[in-house]
Structure formats: structure tokens, C-alpha cells
């Protein structure tokens, strides 16, 4: 793992910060640098450091989180299948247009996972081939896993159009 971090530091000096907790090594990229750095960093990890398996893409809304500076975090959980190491790359994005480069050109598996983050958090992935809502209906307008979206919703279900049998 130190070798990986050394490689990253040499190639992307000052672009990220590292942290570790309970054995999870994290690499965080701040919102102002993420659009330029994230894709190249993931590509470097995949092609030079052997992190060939994208286990997960997790979206997080850090609204009102203690000591948070940026609002949206997207965590790419990478695994090196040869050594079993894990590395978590966290990129941040901010309102009003949260946007990050898509990892689909690197991993086809990122397709649906990034669609889910887009659907539930509203983070747009530039270069994604098919960025549509996946869990919520297409006509839904909010992003329900954002912290400012209430647990019980905004009454969307009460305003669903009623379709009669004759119209269907």
C-alpha cells in the first residue's frame, strides 16, 4: 500500500490527501481539484497499481457533517484482486452543479452504480454513456438521499396522476 501512495504522490503532487481508519486507506480529492484529477488518478490506480476491481461507488451528502468543507462525496472502493488490498478514493463535488468525471471508460461496472449516485444525490458524471434515473421514476425531480430531502418525502406520491382503465 505505501508503494501505491508513493506512486500517486509522484504523479499527482498536492492533488489529494490521505487518511486511514481501522485499516481502510482513503485518498480524498477536494472539490476544486476532483474534475481534473479524478479520472487520471483512477486510471493510474487501475493500470499502474493493479487496482483492477471496482467494488463499489457510494454517494454521500456531507451537509451539516462535522468539519465538512465540501458537500457531496463519491467514494470509489477499489480492490486489487492479486493482492487483496483495498483503497477508497473519495472525490468531492459542490452545489450548484455537482459534477465529476465518469469512471465507466475504466470499469463497465461503474455504469449502474454511477447512475444510482446521480439518481439519489444529483451528482452528474461527465462522459457517462447513459446517465438516467435508475431507482426513482423518470419524472421524479428531487434527489431523495440528499440530507435536505425529508424522510417522508415531499408529497410526491399524493400527486401521482390517476390513470383509469379506459385511459390506459
Amino acid at each position: 500500500m505505501p508503494a501505491t501512495l508513493d506512486t500517486l504522490t509522484a504523479k499527482f503532487p498536492g492533488a489529494f490527501t490521505t487518511s486511514a481508519f481501522r485499516g481502510d486507506q482513503r485518498v480524498s480529492i477536494a472539490a476544486e481539484k476532483a474534475p481534473a484529477v479524478l479520472f487520471d488518478l483512477l486510471k493510474c490506480l487501475k493500470e499502474e497499481c493493479g487496482f483492477d476491481f471496482l467494488a463499489d461507488v457510494a454517494g454521500i451528502d456531507y451537509l451539516n457533517y462535522p468539519n465538512a468543507t465540501d458537500r457531496y462525496g463519491v467514494v470509489y472502493a477499489l480492490t486489487n484482486l492479486a493482492t487483496g488490498e483495498r483503497l477508497f478514493v473519495k472525490a468531492f463535488a459542490n452545489d450548484p452543479d455537482p459534477s465529476l468525471p465518469s469512471a465507466v471508460p475504466l470499469w463497465a461496472g461503474a455504469d449502474w452504480m454511477e447512475r444510482e449516485v446521480y439518481d439519489l444525490f444529483g451528482v452528474v458524471f461527465e462522459g457517462h454513456p447513459d446517465l438516467r434515473r435508475i431507482l426513482m421514476p423518470a419524472e421524479f425531480t428531487a434527489h431523495p438521499l440528499r440530507k435536505d430531502y425529508p424522510l417522508r418525502g415531499l408529497g410526491e406520491r399524493h400527486n401521482f396522476p390517476t390513470i383509469t382503465r379506459a385511459e390506459s
Binding site: 467494488a55 457510494a58 451528502d61 457533517y65 462535522p66 477508497f88 463497465a108 461496472g109
Partner: protein, 408 residues
């Protein structure tokens, strides 16, 4: 969602007017639960398949931010409801990693045994239902016979057959009794015969072979690139199993008891065979573990103030009563570090992980699930394109898509 809102036949669609669109689901017997495929067909050959999911989306992850670490167990139970205990183990694995709890040896063994039983349950349903969709009703009935016995074990251990909600932070709801151990021993003794029956019904069944071999092939490179895990990846030759690679619970002690099952064919038949062999391996794990359950408490010590005391301690001692209240008052409970962890375990369908973010409160600030069904269903279009419409149930059955976990 109206059909016209989804991408239809794109390039060269004009001179391929003979293509037609067929809705497969959301209510179709072969989809088992609620998922929908929009198939573009040339005769009976599938040119393009577009999955449309979300029919069962019920905001589990939003609920995870509102319920505390123990309450959310009832929700993770309902993700993959065929092997709920695997989900509970995974959720509390992540939470205990966050809180820094090392559970007791007895708890580790009991969780391991029950998780392996849940894995057998899941594989039995997958194999049985896959055979049922291909017309082999007998295998389905044989599989369900054994599932009943597993449900009996869960009922005896936790009082609930289907959604046990048996795991707790730092331990289990209650210890198991000797009667449960006897039931598990009994299952270990009788299950190999049932598995052999199932094997004889299907492994060389001409119709089953013809409908599964060479269908839905997933290459090893594709399996890695599309993030597949579990039996789906192992059937394509990815030798990764978190029970071996990142041993948790009692698996470090049980490494010699089981092997990782792999195949290289990557088709539906290979996925079926991997699941069958994994059941045999799971029985070996249970056999090795059930004879070696350590004595001692099942929960971490009362003084750690992390686990719910048993009713005896609650009603008969002031410390127990105080701790009970501390863990149920919404403004007391746990105080985890302000940080985040990813905890993953090998569930029946693959790597089931939880990314838990904590803001120091007793509820997760964010409880992200890595759902294996979701990731495997994303691969479905590339598996099915070029095959016949009658192969859809075969491929769906071999992937074991659980829509509740898919949509959460």
C-alpha cells in the same frame, strides 16, 4: 415508466424495421419478483435488452439514516430475504468495525454457522427456481424440502422463520440452546443425501444441460470489469472469496474446512455447478464449526456499554437496567468515532458491503449498501444479447436476482 421514454433501437433502426419490442415483466412468473426487461427482438433472438428497475425501491438507505444500528437489522433482513442472516452479519460486521468491537468467540461461531445455513438456503432457492423456470418442478420441490429444515433452525434460534433479526451490535439477541445445536447436527447429517438427490436430478439432465450450457457466457475479464463477485464471478474463473481473502468471524479458524469453488466456463451451467458445490462446502464449514462452538458469553461484556443486556440483567440489576435504558434512549445509545468504514462479507450472492459514515451519533450518517444483485443485473444485457427469448429465464435464474436487494 412509459416505454417510449427508454432508448429504443438506436443506430440503423430505420432499415431494421422488422425488429419488435417485448415487455418482459414487471409481472412475469420467471422474474420471480418485480423487475422489467424491455427486449428488442428479431424473431426470437434478442438484439437488445434494457432492464428497467426500481419497482421495489423503498428507500432502505434513507431509513438507515433514521434507524439506529440495532433497529436497521430488521431492514437489512429484507434486502436479500432468502439469506437474511448473511445481511445481518454483514451490517453488524461494518458497524462493529466502526465501533471497534471484537465479538466473543461463541458469537463468532454461531454467526458463522447461521450465515452458512443462510447461504445454503439462498443457493437452494436459486438452484431450485432456476430448474423450475426450465421446467424441472421436481428439483424445486426437493430444494424446498431442505429449505424448510433451515427455516426450522432459524425459528428455534430466534423465534422467526423468515426474517430472524437475530444479530445485535456486539452479539446476538440471545444464545442458542442445545436443541438448536442438535437440529443443526441433524441437518448436517441429512443434507448431503438431499444434495445428492438434487445433483442426480439435474447434473446430467439432458434438457437442463441443453438449456444452460453455453448460455449467458461471462468471460473472466468481463466479470472483473463489471464488478461481479460471489458465485457469478467464481463461475467465470475469478478466484475471490472474502471468506478466504479477508477472513472474518470464525473463518480464520475454519480455513482448512472448506475450499473456494471455481469454474472457468462462465455460463449458466457453471454458475449452477458452483452453487451446488458451494452448498457442499458450506455443510463442511457448519460441520466443523458446530462441533467446536466455544463456551462462554455470546455478547461482549456488560461493562463495555455496547450491547443490550439480557432480560435477567435488566430486571434484576441496576447496572443492567441503566444500560438497557442507555441503549434505548434516542439521545444516548452509542457514540462512535466521527469517521467512516467499509465492511464487507461474503453473502450468498457475492460481496455484500456496507459503507457506514458516522457523525458521532447513534445512527449512521450514511449507510450505503453494496448490493450484489444490483451489480449482477447490470451485466444481464451483455449476457443475454444474441440468445433466444427462452434463455431469459435461464440467465435470470442463474444470476439469482433478488429484486428487494436490487432496488432496496
Amino acid at each position: 415508466m412509459p416505454v417510449e421514454m427508454l432508448p429504443q433501437v438506436d443506430e440503423a433502426g430505420a432499415d431494421r424495421e422488422f425488429l419488435y419490442t417485448l415487455n418482459f415483466g414487471p409481472q412475469h412468473p420467471a422474474t420471480h419478483t418485480t423487475l422489467r426487461l424491455i427486449l428488442t427482438l428479431d424473431g426470437e433472438t434478442i438484439v437488445k435488452a434494457v432492464p428497467d428497475i426500481g419497482y421495489l425501491h423503498s428507500g432502505f438507505e434513507k431509513l438507515g439514516e433514521d434507524l439506529d444500528f440495532n433497529q436497521y437489522v430488521t431492514i437489512v433482513d429484507r434486502m436479500n430475504y432468502i439469506s437474511p442472516f448473511c445481511n445481518e452479519v454483514s451490517w453488524h460486521h461494518a458497524v462493529e468495525k466502526l465501533l471497534g468491537i471484537e465479538v466473543t468467540p461463541r458469537c463468532k461461531y454461531i454467526r458463522t454457522i447461521l450465515a452458512e445455513l443462510a447461504r445454503i438456503n439462498d443457493h437452494l432457492l436459486c438452484v431450485g427456481a432456476a430448474a423450475l423456470d426450465l421446467g424441472a418442478l421436481t428439483a424445486f420441490l426437493y430444494a424446498f424440502n431442505e429449505k424448510e429444515k433451515i427455516y426450522n433452525v432459524f425459528e428455534a434460534a430466534s423465534g422467526q422463520r423468515f426474517h430472524p433479526s437475530y444479530s445485535r451490535v456486539g452479539g446476538l439477541m440471545n444464545d442458542i440452546t442445545d436443541a438448536v445445536v442438535d437440529q443443526i447436527r441433524d441437518f448436517v447429517r441429512t443434507f448431503p443425501k438431499a444434495l445428492a438427490d438434487l445433483t442426480r436430478l439435474l447434473n446430467r439432465n439432458r434438457i437442463f444441460l441443453d438449456r444452460t450450457r453455453g448460455i449467458g457466457v461471462l468471460s473472466k475479464a468481463d466479470a472483473v470489469n463489471t464488478s461481479c463477485s460471489g458465485p457469478v464471478a467464481r463461475a467465470s474463473g475469478v478466484a475471490r472469496d472474502l471468506r478466504k481473502d479477508e477472513p472474518y468471524l470464525a473463518y480464520p479458524d475454519l480455513q482448512s474446512a472448506f475450499k473456494v469453488v471455481c469454474s472457468t466456463a462462465g455460463d449458466c451451467y457453471a454458475r449452477y455447478l458452483v452453487r451446488m458445490e458451494e452448498m457442499a462446502e458450506a455443510v463442511k464449514i457448519i460441520h466443523a464449526a458446530v462441533e467446536n462452538i466455544p463456551a462462554g458469553p455470546v455478547n461482549v461484556a456488560l461493562n463495555d456499554k455496547l450491547t443490550i443486556p439480557d432480560k435477567m440483567a435488566t430486571y434484576r440489576s441496576i447496572e443492567g437496567l441503566i444500560q438497557h435504558f442507555e441503549l434505548f434512549m434516542w439521545n444516548r445509545q452509542w457514540s462512535p468515532p466521527v469517521d467512516e468504514v467499509y465492511g464487507a462479507t461474503e453473502a450468498a450472492n457475492g460481496e455484500l458491503g456496507f459503507y457506514v459514515v458516522s457523525d458521532g451519533g447513534p445512527r449512521a450518517f450514511r449507510a450505503r449498501t453494496r448490493p450484489p444483485s444490483f451489480i449482477h443485473f447490470a451485466v444481464f444485457p451483455r449476457m443475454i444479447e444474441g440468445h433466444q427469448i427462452s434463455d431469459v429465464p435461464a440467465v435470470l435464474g442463474s444470476l439469482n436476482i433478488i429484486a428487494a436487494e436490487l432496488d432496496r
